[in-house]
């Protein structure tokens, strides 16, 4: 099989969330002696990109995305066996994410966390109703590159402002990026409280973070 055909098939197996097929394909690809990094970047990642578009359009759903991300992980693990040690397990950035204190709405935040994992970010999902101090402690502990908070209610979005201040007080703010989202928030709100950016959807979050870290 030509290399281009391998790329096409890898992308399609990811779109189909077919773990068995992508695993077999990755093994065959290595036997052929092709570059494993190229398959991750041009085959598997293309599949993930297509999935993102389909998810945004409501044509595939969350469980499919999860199963596809597992298929991606399996294929990457096989390809990593033939990669230089310094390239193995490489993540784009470390992201701490959670729904702000007082707010229990976390469906959207969960989708953002899942999409970021699928796209190669290391995500530390703190869950819902997360105290400000917990965001700060986790960011410090893992050396976060990004801290993201979600708020669905106008009563809880003020917590995002408190988070900005807490990160400054802890001396962390200058070394990381803050992003926020949730139905109650807007770009104007993000600018007003000094967050680095606001994201409208899971796809928007991925696109903006990829621009920064790729």
């Amino acid at each position: 099989m030509e290399k281009a055909e391998y790329m096409e098939k890898a992308a399609q197996h990811i779109v189909d969330a077919d773990e068995e097929a992508v695993e077999k394909l990755a093994r065959e690809y290595l036997i052929e002696g092709f570059d494993p990094i190229e398959m991750i970047e041009k085959g598997l990642s293309e599949g993930i990109r297509k999935l993102g578009v389909l998810f945004d359009r409501g044509e595939i759903f969350l469980p499919h995305l999860i199963i596809a991300s597992e298929a991606m992980t399996t294929a990457v693990k096989i390809l990593e066996q033939a990669m230089p040690a310094d390239q193995v397990g490489k993540k784009l950035a470390k992201v701490v994410i959670g729904t702000i204190e007082g707010d229990v709405h976390d469906i959207g935040k969960g989708i953002v966390a899942t999409m970021l994992r699928v796209y190669g970010f290391e995500v530390f999902d703190l869950g819902r109703d997360v105290p400000i101090a917990t965001f700060v402690e986790k960011a410090k502990e893992i050396g976060a590159d990004v801290v993201g908070s979600s708020a669905l209610m106008t009563t809880t979005m003020v917590g995002q402002k408190a988070l900005e201040k807490a990160l400054k007080d802890a001396g962390l703010r200058d070394n990381l990026i803050t992003m926020l989202g949730g139905a109650a928030t807007t770009e104007h709100w993000a600018a007003k409280i000094g967050a680095n950016f606001w994201a409208e959807s899971a796809g928007d979050t991925v696109m903006k973070l990829k621009e920064i870290f790729s």
Binding site: G58, I60, F61, H64, T154, A183, A184, E187
Partner: protein, 353 residues
């Protein structure tokens, strides 16, 4: 080039030329047509929308004879709740709130709602809700609904007995997430039917399932089953109001009447609500804060128009903060609200707001 005042999706006042407005209108309707696989607005419809945006009056309205039913959800929280709860913080009883809507606001219908506004927490206080409903019915003449959210989130941990799909799915526990949602459907259906039947006993005129589908396809499925059961066992009028223009696939495999629920847009949602026996359908189209109002309104009108065209029951579109082309802003500006409402009546041909 003359500029016209309009809004961004987050409520900010902006200026656009008529050419810029038309470009945004065309892009908005195309986005809806592409996603929903429905017809875009016609040239005449787009020109009508352009006229609405170019009207120099701050508040616009429809002509005599084109008025539609105006009803309300969220109970009386709009008056009693604080600003963070979409209200104005006036200390009124719920009965007083209903009477204000009837006698001062001239609402066509009104609803009673619990402070938690979800069906599950109403269950343990149903006797109080029955008493309040009865008092309200005896001192008003407008049709009175009881309103609450199906809110399947209250059935998942930490608030309910089942695992939370938002935790289970990222952990790769797909089967467990499916099971949790399927169990929640059963329990939520039972609770909604129980609450509805109890309220019917005291003469409640109708029940409003508000923000249906907010927790995904399982939320929609539970509501459809509850509607079906209530229509068979009570004489309640049933309204199904949605949470968004498409049903989020948290499960992805759930069906009703042989149709997969995940990913359905307004024009398909209404057919299932109809099949379950609903009397009124309330589509909701979410506003994108990053886009301007012409884009958002053209998109919302396109989805709603397609819904009205196929519906055999009255369509009362959701209009308010962040829905129906109206900006995401706590107190939506009147110029935006009146323009969006006029467009829904004149172009989408809705039966009510």
């Amino acid at each position: 080039m003359k500029k016209h005042l309009t809004r961004r999706g987050d409520g900010a006042l902006i200026e656009m030329t008529s050419e810029e407005i038309m470009i945004a209108l065309e892009a908005g309707t195309e986005d809806a047509a592409d996603r929903g696989k429905i017809a875009p607005l016609s040239k005449d419809d787009l020109e009508c929308l352009l006229d609405i945006f170019m009207d120099t009056n701050r508040v616009v309205s429809v002509a005599h004879g084109e008025e539609v039913v105006v009803t309300h959800d969220i109970g009386t929280l709009r008056l009693m709740g604080d600003q963070g709860n979409s209200g104005v913080g006036i200390p009124l009883s719920r009965l007083q709130g209903i009477q204000v809507h009837e006698r001062a606001f001239c609402s066509d219908t009104m609803e009673l709602g619990h402070i938690d506004y979800s069906f599950k927490p109403v269950k343990p206080v149903i006797a109080m809700e029955q008493q309040e409903m009865e008092s309200a019915l005896l001192s008003t003449i407008i049709p009175l609904f009881y309103g609450a959210m199906p809110n399947l989130g209250t059935y998942y941990s930490p608030d309910g007995p089942f695992g939370n799909p938002s935790d289970l799915l990222p952990a790769g526990k797909v089967k467990e997430a499916y099971e949790a949602q399927e169990s929640a459907v059963e329990h939520a259906t039972r609770d909604m039917v129980y609450v509805g039947q109890k309220l019917a006993q005291v003469g409640c005129d109708g029940i409003n399932f508000d923000t249906t589908g907010a927790a995904g396809d399982a939320d929609f499925k539970a509501t459809l089953h509850a509607v079906e059961k209530l229509k068979k066992t009570t004489d309640l009028t049933v309204q199904v109001g949605m949470a968004g223009e498409f049903v989020l696939g948290m499960h992805g495999g759930l069906e009703y009447g042989g149709r997969r629920l995940a990913g359905l847009y307004c024009h398909d949602q209404v057919k299932l609500a109809e099949k379950a026996g609903a009397d009124i359908f309330g589509p909701a189209v979410n506003t994108k804060p990053s886009k301007d109002m012409p884009w958002n309104l053209a998109r919302a009108v396109t989805f709603v128009k397609a819904c009205v065209e196929v519906s055999n029951i009255p369509v009362h579109v959701n209009m308010g903060m962040g829905v129906g082309g109206i900006p995401v802003f706590e107190t939506p500006p009147i110029d935006a609200v009146s323009r969006a409402s006029k467009a829904m009546v004149q172009i989408a041909k809705v039966d009510g707001l």
